[in-house]
């Protein structure tokens, strides 16, 4: 048995949070959910995670800003945590913007949960 992997989900819609939690729990991942970029930084400061699923369109601090802030962290382990964007692309970011901000991958809304699970697994393998 490999140790339980911890996934932080940042998403401001409770509908998506609930569905995503159920899907990830299916694979025995341990899930923590937060609602904006600031909360991501708070949580990450206190706990270790193996992966972050990050909505781009969030209040307070959006996913791009938050990813940049994580990549700039001094902690060598936390600054390189895999981050997967969840995006409906409201602000017209391009894939290039995602990569420049330091995101590893992205999943488009509406979410296809088979695809989401496969993408998460790819980074937690």
């Amino acid at each position: 048995m490999s140790p339980t992997r911890k996934v932080l989900v940042a998403e401001d819609s409770s509908v998506i949070i609930n569905l995503t939690k159920n899907v990830l729990m299916f694979e025995n991942y341990q899930i923590t959910a937060v609602k904006n970029g600031k909360q991501v930084l708070d949580k990450l400061g206190k706990e270790d995670f193996d992966l972050i699923l990050m909505d781009i369109n969030m209040p307070e601090m959006d996913g791009i800003e938050c990813t940049k802030a994580i990549r700039a962290l001094e902690d060598p382990e936390k600054s390189v945590i895999p981050i997967i964007a969840i995006t409906g692309n409201y602000k017209n970011y391009t894939l290039d913007d995602f990569l420049k901000a330091g995101l590893n991958d992205y999943i488009q809304k509406p979410l296809d949960y088979d695809h989401l699970l496969a993408t998460v697994k790819k980074y937690l393998a």
Binding site: D12, S13, I16, N18, L19, N22, N57, K109, L111, Y113
Partner: protein, 253 residues
């Protein structure tokens, strides 16, 4: 729900009684005492799902399944039940051709969820086939394919919670949009529509998804001529979705 028929095949009278008590509350059911009797019943009558015990005299579950498949006796899903197997044996039963597996002693909730899921999957391709294109059979209001994909990872109970969550959240967002409309805060409306768009698409409320997509596009491109009209139309679609959820047999077992 009651119009779905379950065939229970088990050689033990007490087990049959237990199955009937659990399943009879939700579905019509009939029983057979062994594989031979099951085959006779399946040839005479159509069932929507079959629960097949593995250890039986005369004709056991594995052989009965083989005959059903070879002679194409019924396309209905077939669920294996066994006291001499645990969850680890699931792969074996699936590879043998069963649609699912439930271990004894039976857990009522798990059994009913398993049945519901497979009946739903079995029946969904024909959902529109009843001729009436009424609100219940329009796949665009609630797309069955999306629902089935979600059911792979969620129990019916979870799914119901998510849909009611979606309704609450959308209700709140729509009233915020109405407020922003009054004060012509169009930028904020786009953000709300964006959330509704992502959620509706994800849970399969495709009618709402498609419409919100074009509504959001108008807002983003600064075209506010039809904003009030679009808002009223979206509210109408949402009301329809709510009615659909209330009457959907999948969400209200």
């Amino acid at each position: 729900m009651k119009n779905n028929k379950v065939l229970i095949v088990d050689d033990n009278a007490l087990n049959r009684r237990v199955f009937q008590n659990i399943i009879g509350q939700v579905y019509h059911c009939d029983v057979a005492e062994n594989g031979k009797e099951a085959l006779d019943k399946l040839k005479k009558e159509a069932f929507d799902i079959v629960i097949l015990d593995i250890q039986m005299p005369l004709l056991d579950g594995i052989h009965t399944l083989r005959i059903i498949k070879e002679e194409q006796i019924t396309p209905a899903p077939i669920i294996a039940v066994s006291a001499f197997a645990n969850e680890n044996d699931r792969d074996y039963f699936l590879s043998a051709g069963f649609d699912d597996f439930v271990s004894k002693p039976i857990k009522p909730k798990q059994l009913l969820e398993t049945l519901q899921k497979h009946i739903l999957m079995y029946k969904s391709p024909g959902m529109v086939a009843n001729g009436e294109r009424d609100i219940r059979s329009n796949p665009e209001i609630l797309n069955p394919k999306v629902l089935l994909q979600l059911l792979k990872y969620n129990t019916i109970e979870n799914i119901r919670m998510v849909y009611f969550d979606f309704i609450n959240e959308t209700e709140r967002l729509l009233s915020e949009i109405e407020y922003q409309l009054k004060y012509s805060e169009y930028e904020g409306i786009g953000e709300k529509l964006h959330i509704i768009k992502g959620n509706s698409g994800t849970i399969g409320a495709l009618e709402i998804f498609y419409f919100t997509q074009s509504f959001e596009r108008n807002i983003k491109s600064g075209n506010f001529d039809n904003t009030v009209k679009d808002y009223i139309y979206l509210k109408g679609l949402f009301e329809r979705f709510k009615i659909h959820c209330k009457s959907s047999e999948y969400l209200n077992p």
